[in-house]
């Protein structure tokens, strides 16, 4: 391609013609803060990991929770509840550890494909973490929300003078479906917002990674 040869000639001829940055300016530059995508990914990920941790803690410490503990103890499934909480924390810690080790692997002097793949894998860890958290809380909400509604219904019925209150099957079914739908919609919206942030941050990286993968197909 003769145009490309012409460009190459010009490129090489002019390669020394840039206004030079002084050593002094370079000194100043290396003390400036980076604004790289990786740094943003790190900040956003830490916020996300932290939010999961905070919501987990909030779950165990609020008064609302103490009332639940009473309820759970009353039901005789306290052991399961404690086990679930421990599992939640183990999983959260596992994700934080995995994120940290992946993040440490990001090296700007790797080849481009590997660098992109490490960054995307690091983000994937956080994505899995978010998916886990959303499903955990959705499940939690359905089980406890459902139970609280059930208890409330019975309580209301007995206040109205019913001696052995029972929830009719159709009400139970409808309320269960409504609860599941509400949780699903809520979770879905959160997931959409998450995907949007994720997309804004990673679109370019993903495009470039796809492009590199395509070359080697």
């Amino acid at each position: 391609m003769k145009e490309l040869d012409l460009l190459k000639k010009d490129w090489q001829k002019n390669s020394g013609s840039f206004e030079q940055v002084s050593e002094n300016d370079i000194y100043k530059m290396i003390h400036k803060k980076s604004s790289s995508v990786v740094k943003w990914i790190f900040i956003v990920s830490i916020i996300e990991l932290g939010l999961g941790l905070v919501s987990g803690l909030a779950l165990s410490f609020t008064k609302y929770d103490e009332k639940n503990v009473e309820l759970i103890k009353h039901l005789g499934v306290y052991g399961y509840y404690i086990a679930a909480t421990i599992v939640l924390y183990i999983v959260i810690l596992y994700f934080i550890f995995k994120f940290y080790t992946m993040y440490r692997k990001i090296a700007v002097d790797d080849n481009t494909k590997k660098l992109l793949s490490t960054i995307l894998k690091t983000r994937k860890v956080v994505k899995q973490y978010i998916a886990f958290n959303l499903s955990f809380f959705a499940l939690f909400f359905i089980i406890f929300g459902g139970y609280l509604f059930y208890e409330g219904y019975l309580e209301g019925a007995s206040k109205n003078g019913v001696i052995h209150p029972e929830m009719p099957l159709n009400i139970a079914l409808i309320s269960f479906i409504v609860l599941i739908l509400a949780t699903a919609i809520f979770t879905f919206v959160l997931w959409l917002i998450y995907k949007l942030i994720y997309g804004l941050l990673l679109k370019r990286l993903q495009n470039n990674f796809e492009e590199l993968k395509k070359i080697d197909l």
Binding site: K8, S34, N208, E211, D216
Partner: protein
């Protein structure tokens, strides 16, 4: 980061800064963006410098980090306030015999290269820098054969951009 690394880094970077300028020229439009990317690449090089063992030449290592920064890490955002000011202008040297037609062709060619995507630009950049396909494939993490194939496709794409009707 250890203090005594600084003078050695700054000196080597100062000597090799044209590598960065050239990448900035390809990946940014306008002086501010050029400065911005130059600074980000400098920061990334400095951050990675403690790991640079001198097994390869500083310039080879700098090529890789600089390209990676342009392709993956750089965010095309306006943040000129935080940028160190320097004159980023390029002085073009012209032969005494000024070839108008060639100059026009060059302009079109530069414009065509700007329309390529990030990865294609990287290949073109290394091609213009006379890098062999071994280095191109190692830098991008693709196979040598496919790097060649891709370069040929890019040439085709450039031709099409220059002459969309194929006349």
């Amino acid at each position: 980061m250890s203090e005594n690394l600084e003078p050695s880094f700054v000196k080597q970077l100062q000597e090799n800064q044209n590598i960065i300028h050239k990448i900035c020229r390809l990946y940014t439009a306008g002086e501010d963006a050029h400065k911005d990317l130059f600074q980000e690449i400098t920061i990334q090089l400095w951050k990675a410098f403690p790991k640079f063992r001198g097994e390869s030449k500083f310039s080879t290592w700098a090529y890789r980090v600089a390209l990676n920064t342009a392709i993956t890490l750089y965010r095309k955002n306006k943040r000129s306030i935080a940028t160190v000011e320097y004159e980023g202008k390029q002085h073009f040297t012209h032969d005494i015999e000024y070839n108008y037609e060639e100059e026009e062709q060059l302009k079109l060619m530069y414009r065509a290269v700007y329309q390529l995507n990030d990865i294609e630009k990287a290949l073109v950049f290394m091609y213009l820098e006379d890098k062999d396909y071994t280095e191109i494939s190692e830098t991008l993490g693709i196979s040598e054969v496919n790097a060649r194939v891709k370069m040929n496709r890019i040439k085709g794409k450039l031709k099409k951009i220059l002459n969309p009707l194929g006349v």
